[in-house]
Amino acid sequence: MIEITGLKLRNPTILAAGIMGTTAASLVRVAKVGAGAVVTKSIGPQPKEGHKNPSMVNLGYGFLNAMGLPNPSFPDFSAELETAGSKTDVPVIASIFGGNADEFTQVAEGLADAGPDAFELNVSCPHAQGYGASIGCDTCAVEEITAAVTDMTDLPVWVKLTPNVTDIVSIGEAAQRGGADAIVAINTVRGMAIDIHSGYPVLGNRFGGLSGSAVKPVAIKCVYDLYAALEIPVIGVGGISCWEDAVEMMMAGASAVQIGSAVYEGVDVFRSIADGIDNFLADRDLRFDDIIGLAHRRI
């Protein structure tokens, strides 16, 4: 049992946003097979169909995806969220996005009645209105959005960061100033693949985000730096596919981990990672607190 921002998790593995998280049924399934908590697909103010396929390819060493934030929008998703919450004991965190602070609060308010256990703000969406390329690169925008949502709700607010910035710590600090209860790092790493037979970019959206093993070292570094700089907990995500990866992420400073692409190998990944961490700790007679941030204490 671990506690993070007031939520009680039976184990530190959390389903990452955008992975099997569009319906109550699949969220409940992932909870049943072992996740300590589940995050929904990112939900926005309007329905979105997302980009044309191909929207995800397996590169072997990682995955490249450009879904384009497909989601039915908050009015349609409320019922799913409510069902998910009622059918499982594990915390259900609503991931939300918008183009600006107003849209974020609009979505959060719209979903509040459905009873999520926390909000996760996806401030990594490209092409947000009025904020240039991406709000997640702009400390002011991140602080403002975080403050707006934390003002509006008493639920814990997690802020999920993009690694595609010069200095992720300054973005994390902005979220903390805005009142974030936890930081989630990282979203996908900007990437692209081209089909040499035709010259076409492989993804329908031409470029996308890299996830899976390839980004683990990037995520470890971001979590390591955020842990050193922030007071609030950091939740680590990026390339975790076995318990060793999860322990590594916790040693970098993560209080819990999210798992995304690794469901490719099977949804039992949550149980096997949770068990693996337990055994690791038991074998060495350690508690979670002993390993969280351990790398910072090894000089």
């Binding site: 319906t23 049924a25 169909e49 191909p54 037979h197």
Partner: protein, 259 residues
């Protein structure tokens, strides 16, 4: 992996609305019922069951399939796969019942051929809108018996595959496989449930696919949250009890679309 580049070697017009595209790459590891993601570059990528180890059979329904209908021999496609769970293969001596409708015949043709090759006794019920749309009649003509229906009565028996099925004692069969429009399969499902035969039945489903590899969740079905692209597209009848099957599916945004 990146999509495999294949060259179209032969184009066969199977019926007014369906074309088979043969290509220069055999997916020898593919099991009957598995699908590939077919990338029509610059347009879209869509799921298609392999109708041969080296071919797909396509019905024109929208943008991407229309674009495909304009392709020539020598043109290229990008293909990822095979993906998903195929049919459980029958064994020698098994009595097999196949129920296929429309382009669903394409998804089941490899299975029918396999079944006959291992010496199971196959009975087929095959339906189509009209006589011209009857697909793969030759590949689905088995020893055990062939029953054909057309919706409009333009040939054979006028009516639906379910009419035949209702007159069939399914308890005689060891394995039942079905693929076709979901409304057809819903009726098949109801009849088989009534006859207590669901457990030995496998159905091949369609849902809207994005990733196609079991990660994004776009194709998850209500009920147990099964992913059609990874846990399916072939499901055992019992897996579909109390699911959304036959009721609704979801569109690209995750919105529900009633059948």
């Amino acid at each position: 992996m990146y999509p495999v580049d294949v060259t179209i070697t032969e184009i066969v017009q199977e019926s007014p609305s369906t074309i088979t595209f043969f290509f220069d790459h055999e997916f020898n590891e593919a099991l009957p019922g598995q699908f590939v993601m077919v990338w029509i570059r610059g347009t879209d990528e869509i799921p298609m069951t392999l109708s041969y180890k080296n071919a797909i059979t396509v019905q024109k329904v929208g943008d991407a399939t229309e674009k495909m209908f304009g392709l020539q021999e020598g043109d290229h496609l990008g293909i990822r796969g095979p993906f998903g769970k195929g049919f459980t293969l029958p064994e020698a001596g098994d009595k097999v019942l196949i129920i296929a409708g429309g382009v669903g015949a394409a998804a089941i043709a490899l299975l029918a051929e396999y079944s006959m090759s291992v010496g199971s006794s196959v009975t087929t019920i095959l339906g189509a809108r009209n006589a011209d749309e009857m697909l793969f009649l030759d590949r689905l003509t088995p020893c055990g018996g062939l029953h054909l229906t057309t919706d409009d009565g333009s040939a054979h028996r006028c009516g639906f595959v379910t009419d035949v099925l209702m007159e069939t004692d399914t308890s005689e069969f060891d394995r039942i496989y079905t693929c076709g429009p979901e409304m057809m399969m819903k009726c098949v499902f109801g009849i088989l449930e009534g006859q207590g035969s669901l457990e030995k039945t496998e159905l091949s489903l369609h849902r809207y696919f994005k990733c196609g590899i079991g990660v994004c969740g776009a194709c998850c079905m209500d009920g147990d949250g099964l992913r059609v692209c990874k846990d399916g597209p072939v499901f055992n009848g019992l897996q579909l009890v109390d699911s959304e099957f036959g009721k609704y599916m979801r569109g690209p945004s995750g919105n529900k679309k009633q059948f």
